[in-house]
């Protein structure tokens, strides 16, 4: 080569051996597949598989573990590249170490939003030359090495350990410093320490105006209830970079928090135009439009949501239920019922509460279209369904169901549901007000007040008795008491946290025990699903991880 100094710009000492890796190339154009195969061969690669469509790619991915996937974003009919990536990750068809490079013809909006749940490791723009390919492969590889222990701690939800690992590297790793700071900020948010996340974002902004850091500050403001300030900050992020889509979703949330549904809806509509292929965004747009009574917009959003969800593993029943209500309000109960049947068929496996939810929607559809006799029939069916199992759906579904049941004239079942909600949320004043509102609407204000008070007391007594046993040193009895309390009240976060706390104490004082460790983990993961990002969750996870005999070794090995 005619270069004066070819080694000066070569990669750092630890070169990666790309010859022995397994490759998958996904593109619908045979010429490009051949070109990429040639490029990979010149890196020494021998094992290169090819797929011409998303379906073919999924078939190969489910049989073979690849080290590197080069996937075009636009691959004709069926799944697009992003949907292939999402499904491969959700179904665990790729390893955490797998390098996923997304290829597109031009700079895509998605590549800079940086907020989607499943991001590829890098985006490449066509034409792809060997030099660019090799540089990006090496870069991703090194980054994955740096982040391996951190990602592992994250996967175990030990966010505080992950944050310490970030800290240990930030100082002397200039190349990854920014990525490490971004990760640390995210970890601080996840572990309920927004003040520390804010410090990190401000540190980044002192160097450069990174929009993700500005948006991060705005998100903290919003979580703090400073909706107007958050709104202004999100708007300035959008003014700087009109494609920073995540800021639109957040801006809409700020408006929603301020009760300005019209503005929120307009922002979501604009974001959906810029980046139309997001299932969650179309769903939010549909829901908010439905609330506003903008039936046409709700219908458009829900239909789009269903269409893009067809090939996506990220699809949920919400769009079907929402569209069914739209149809009900347009007096097309026939299509509404058809949609509910489809939802039952499509989501029977992943969503065990789908029968209940479709029945609720059926009741709402009849009620809103004025067919009170069939609405009442749906209410009676729901009451029967509730009798069959002690399990109750999530809080929002419970409230929706209770509202419907009162509206169609059922009395006992909604009262039972609302008491259940109170027992599981006895220290959440906003929710208590909402429940009182539902009682008031059903002309049961006084009765409701008394029921709320007694349900609150019931939960508080359960918890206090367990804590008393713990404080008086009766640890084994305390653990057993909280186990029963959790059976009676499965979704009460304070009871769950205290139950985990008591088990941690037990493990600390009476020695490590696999079964109790697993039980405590399960309780904490359950509470994290109910409301992610709580400080107490992060602290207890850290205490728990420190108790595990093997965990100590892995921390010292990577530190």
């Amino acid at each position: 080569m005619n270069l004066a100094n070819p080694t000066a710009v070569a990669m750092a000492a630890d070169q990666v051996d790309w010859a022995d890796k397994n490759y998958l190339v996904v593109d619908d154009f045979v010429g490009i597949r051949q070109l990429l195969r040639e490029s990979l061969r010149s890196l020494g690669a021998k094992n290169i598989d090819q797929a011409s469509s998303g379906g073919e790619a999924m078939g190969l991915l489910s049989r073979i573990r690849y080290d590197v996937v080069l996937c075009d974003y636009n691959i004709g009919e069926g799944k697009n590249g992003q949907q292939v990536l999402e499904e491969a990750r959700v179904r665990n068809l790729v390893n955490p170490s797998t390098v996923w490079l997304m290829v597109s013809a031009e700079k895509s909006v998605e590549s800079v939003m940086g907020a989607a749940e499943h991001q590829p490791d890098a985006y490449l723009i066509k034409p792809i030359t060997e030099g660019v390919l090799l540089t990006r492969l090496n870069r991703v590889w090194h980054k994955k090495q740096v982040f391996r222990a951190i990602d592992q701690a994250c996967a175990e939800k030990d966010y505080l350990r992950a944050a310490r690992l970030c800290d240990a590297r930030i100082e002397h790793d200039k190349i990854h410093a920014l990525d490490l700071l971004r990760m640390k900020a995210k970890l601080m948010e996840k572990s309920g320490q927004p003040a520390k996340a804010r410090e990190v974002y401000e540190q980044v902004l002192e160097q450069r105006e990174y929009q993700w850091a500005r948006a991060g500050l705005a998100k903290i403001r919003m979580a703090n209830g400073e909706f107007e300030q958050a709104r202004q900050m999100f708007q300035s992020v959008i003014a700087e970079n009109r494609y920073y889509i995540d800021a639109y979703d957040q801006l809409a949330a700020s408006y929603q928090n301020m009760g300005k549904l019209d503005e929120a809806c307009a922002i979501l509509e604009r974001a959906a135009k810029l980046s139309p292929n997001s299932v969650p965004r179309q769903r939010s747009l549909g829901n908010i439009a439905l609330k506003l009574g903008n039936i046409a917009m709700a219908e458009k959003a829900f239909r789009k949501c269903i269409a893009i969800g067809e090939y996506s593993i990220m699809k949920t029943p919400d769009a079907y239920l929402g569209l069914a209500r739209v149809c009900g309000q347009k007096n097309d109960t026939k299509e509404a019922l058809q949609l509910l049947l489809t939802a039952q068929r499509e989501f029977a496996h992943e969503h065990p509460d789908i029968q209940l939810r479709t029945k609720i929607t059926e009741g709402l559809v009849y009620h809103e279209s004025g067919d009170y006799r069939r609405a009442r029939k749906a209410g009676d069916d729901l009451e029967e369904m509730l009798k069959l199992t002690p399990d109750r759906p999530d809080t929002n579904t419970c409230l929706e169901l209770a509202t419907l049941l009162f509206a169609v004239g059922v009395k006992d079942a909604p009262v039972e549901l609302l008491c259940y909600v109170i027992r599981n949320n006895h220290d959440n004043p906003l929710l208590l007000d909402e429940v009182q509102g539902i009682f008031d609407k059903a002309r049961m204000g006084d009765e409701g007040l008394a029921l709320i008070r007694s349900s609150k007391k019931e939960a508080a007594d359960l918890m206090n008795q367990g804590v008393l046993l713990w404080k008086t040193g009766k640890l084994a009895q305390a653990v057993e008491w909280m186990r029963n309390a959790r059976k009676a009240v499965p979704n009460n976060q304070r009871i769950l946290f205290n139950a985990a706390q008591i088990m941690v104490s037990h493990l600390q004082q009476h020695g490590y025990d696999d079964a109790m460790y697993a039980e405590a983990c399960e309780v904490l993961h359950h509470v994290d699903r109910l409301l992610p990002g709580q400080q107490r969750f992060a602290q207890l996870m850290e205490q728990l991880a420190a108790l595990q005999p093997a965990a100590d070794a892995s921390v010292s090995a990577v530190a």
Partner: protein, 239 residues
Amino acid sequence: MDDALPDPPESHDLFLFLASTAHDMKNSISVLSGTLERLLVDASPQTESAYPQMAHMLYQTKRLNDNLMQLLALYKQVGKPEYPFDLQPVPLGQLVDQVVAMGRVLLQSRGIRLELDVDPDLIWHLDEDLVVGVLSHAINNAIHYTGDTVRLAIRELDGWLELRVEDNGPGYPPALLQAGAVATREMAGGVNFLTNSAGLGLYFSGKVAEMHRHRGRGGSLHLENGGAYGGGCFVLRLP
């Protein structure tokens, strides 16, 4: 939003159509330049009588590709908030690796030396795809006009990153120096510099420079004659 652009109903469909056509054209050009590069690597001027013509085809193919890429970026409004600008910290060693690899076969086939003067460990915040595109385009141009050497020099200077592509050819003619000055000056909607064949590349590079902003300072581009060999110098400065 009050500052939203008007959005005619047909614009999205048109955009999708253009995007898919562009995708197709890029695929074709990729295959074309990839095939040419491979043929050139396997051949030599001694064994292949058409070697100089093949090298020229590669040069023209790269021009075609650069122009297409620049037009697409301009269509996506590079230089405005509408462009998905992607700032990242990039070690210059990695930036230069990519530029060098993109020009390797063309340099070799034209018998031109590329000299590098870069601190590979220096990290700068920039949109990598855009800057690699600008530098690669500048080197392609220099290859066409230089004597036998092209120099890529990057250094930090008073808080700016200065990226220079210099050659040892006769230097830019006065008309081009002026076009360079015009292309990089802020002018609303005027496109008279596009009468010059180098106009698109300069305009695009100027827009890329401008997009890089930091603490109220924006990047800039200018052309000059001189530098290490007294030939043409393409100078990009980023804050």
